[in-house]
Amino acid sequence: MTVDEAVLERLALHHEVEDFLYREADLLDERRYEEWLTLLAEDYEYTVPLRLNVRYADVREREDTGAGEIAWFDEDKSTVDLRVKQLMTGRHWAEEPVSRVSHIVSNVRLESVTLPQVDVSCRFLVYRNRVADETDFLVGRRRDRLRKVADGWQVCRRQLLLDQSVLLAKNLSIFI
């Protein structure tokens, strides 16, 4: 019995996507922010809603804040650009000294494929340590919309569901 071509294509695509997400994480953790920016599409949308403590019955409707409501982040690429510029001033005190960060990306799944677009879900665990004992764990689910472009891939939409309601970190001055 031989393996179906469609399966192999799927395998190849999945591998491509994983490799892209891991490379993106490398750029972030190596603080190569300007290279990282090139991986974000011009129409990049980034949202990280707040999570509320609600009853089991209300989870679907009320657990996450939505459109037009307050979030941790809700921005486009222009703001991300500004954040990178701020980091590079050398006077963004929240990151002086810089944080040591690892982006652990796991459970990568292709949720839907309509080339050039692919919707991908994964889990993230972002570990951050800074100065002596400042230590944060930011963990949750992520949904990315990737777009195939000439020289590879770009992220055009990213939504994070952070598994915290009261943020247990003093700030979110790193890219999660």
């Binding site: 990280v48 809603p49 707040l50 509320l52 403590n53 609600v54 009853r55 209300d58 009320r62 804040t65 037009g68 409501e69 307050i70 979030a71 941790w72 982040f73 809700d74 921005e75 703001t79 500004l82 954040r83 510029k85 701020q86 001033t89 006077r91 963004h92 005190w93 929240a94 309601s165 009261v166 943020l167 247990l168 970190a169 003093k170 700030n171 979110l172 001055s173």
Partner: protein, 468 residues
């Protein structure tokens, strides 16, 4: 790491005459416990916004000092602040952040508390008790075992405050003429009375800082901006876009320093500006926004002029002890909840005009989020300072050296406002902080209401001025 030496009055640690304040009050756990016992249960505290609980039965979970509370709206539409702890064994009757219910039933033994005035005489009272007859043979005085209610609650133009002390002065007396800043916060950009509401969602996060660093920062520390926010000014995140100030002041009005003065109240409240500092709304890179706010400013100017009321007073400001806010750009309320001497839970609400069109709502929301909160490019750098100032003040040697609060010492300027003075300078000047900590010490030393009121009656600072 914390030597406990609070065997003296905390007042002795706050020397406003010399402009020196001991580091102990920022790191000592015993002093922190005195704050929790003598200050917070007697102060008027912000618990939430009326627009968070629009319908009967709506509730919002909040905190007052070290106690979890529920802001609820009863069947008649009245607001109540109830201690979120069962009277039977203390279980937190409600663990949800928000919701709607006319009855809080405790999961442990099912005592239930109703906020329906048709079932209980006072909303929050004990209503259902399983096996009531068998268990208490009719001896349980249900009316005495309801959820503890804050004896004093006020809804000031949508801003809801509570006070746990039956004998506390009325909110109006506690606030004094600082109310003008609250008005500017609660009224709409076009001056419409109480024309604001909050966006859904309160940002809540933990910092390793003493809570007072937060209050002090907003009540008049305009001195920190140039250095702390150098990076954000460099990139430009304000309405005017890059190259413009992050709050979007219009240069042609003399900008930041145009006649601006800070305002300090003997009652402890403080603002970074004065009512006479009539800073117009920012110039927006986006025409539609610029149009909207130019119109709003004009409408407001007309309204207020008619009342002979000045247009200034946008803050940032702090209502003693731990509610800070800005009535401008961004338009937001912060509460610094004390957790320990060296940890604080910060909450942020964001306001918008009820009548604002979607494009305004969206623009402001995006701006608020990139400006403030843990993801805010501006606030991130404040927190770095608060945390490491707290941490570096814990050392035994460090504690021997007081902080310096000498800016504008003895240079206070008189004010037309009752019990208030102004700083002698727009950016420099620590008069607000000196007044804040003086008031703080009077509360923490547990002075009686009579003493507290008397002390605040005359503002010796102003007198000293006239004497000159």
């Amino acid at each position: 790491m914390l030597p406990e030496r609070a065997d003296h009055l905390v007042r002795d640690l706050v020397d406003v005459e010399r402009g020196e304040i001991s580091r102990e009050i920022f790191v000592n756990e015993r002093i922190h416990r005195l704050e929790l016992e003598n200050l917070f249960p007697r102060a008027w505290l912000f618990v939430g916004h009326a627009s968070q609980v629009p319908r009967p039965g709506d509730f919002f979970s909040s905190w007052t000092g070290s106690d979890p509370v529920l802001l609820t709206r009863d069947d008649k539409g009245e607001l109540h602040v109830l201690l979120n702890s069962c009277r039977h064994r203390g279980m937190r009757v409600c663990r949800y952040d928000e919701g709607n219910t006319m009855q809080f039933t405790c999961p442990y033994h099912a005592w239930s508390y109703s906020i329906d005035g048709s079932l209980v005489s006072t909303p929050g009272d004990l209503h259902g008790v399983p096996q009531l007859k068998a268990a208490y043979s009719g001896k349980l005085r249900k009316e005495q075992w309801g959820l503890v209610r804050a004896p004093k609650v006020v809804n000031y133009k949508g801003l809801v405050f509570a006070n746990w002390d039956q004998d506390a002065p009325e909110f109006a007396d506690y606030v004094g003429e600082f109310h003008w800043w609250l008005d500017n916060l609660a009224d709409a950009f076009d001056g419409t009375e109480a024309g604001t509401e909050v966006f859904r969602g309160v940002q809540r996060w933990r910092i390793k800082s003493n809570w007072k660093f937060v209050s002090e920062n907003f009540l008049g520390d305009t001195y920190h901006g140039a250095s702390t926010h150098a990076s954000v000014e460099a990139v430009g995140i304000g309405p005017g876009g890059q190259g413009k100030r992050r709050h979007g002041e219009r240069r042609n009005e003399g900008g930041f320093a145009g006649g601006r003065r800070k305002t300090s109240f003997r009652l402890g409240h403080g603002a970074s500006d004065n009512l006479g500092y009539e800073l117009a709304y920012p110039e927006f890179a986006e025409p539609k926004m610029d149009e909207y706010f130019t119109a709003a400013w004009a409408t407001r100017a007309e309204k207020l002029r008619a009342q002979g009321r000045p247009l200034g007073g946008r803050g940032p400001a702090t209502l003693f002890p731990n509610m800070s806010f800005s009535a401008g750009f961004p338009r937001t309320i912060l509460v610094a909840h004390p957790i320990s001497a060296t940890e604080t839970e910060v909450w942020r609400w964001y306001l918008v005009d009820r009548s604002a069109p979607d494009f305004v709502r969206d623009w402001l929301r995006h701006y608020y989020l990139r400006y403030a909160g843990p993801g805010g490019m501006t606030e991130q750098d404040d927190m770095e300072n608060w945390d490491y100032a707290t941490q570096a003040s814990r050392g035994v040697v460090a504690r021997r050296y007081p902080y310096n609060y000498q800016q504008g010492l003895g240079e206070e300027l008189p004010s037309d406002l009752d019990g208030a003075v102004h700083s002698h300078h727009a950016i420099a000047g620590e008069v607000n902080a000196r007044a804040f900590y003086r008031r703080w010490a009077e509360f923490v030393d547990n002075l009686s209401w009579a003493e507290l009121t008397k002390l605040a009656e005359t503002d010796d600072r102003a007198n000293r001025e006239e004497a000159r």
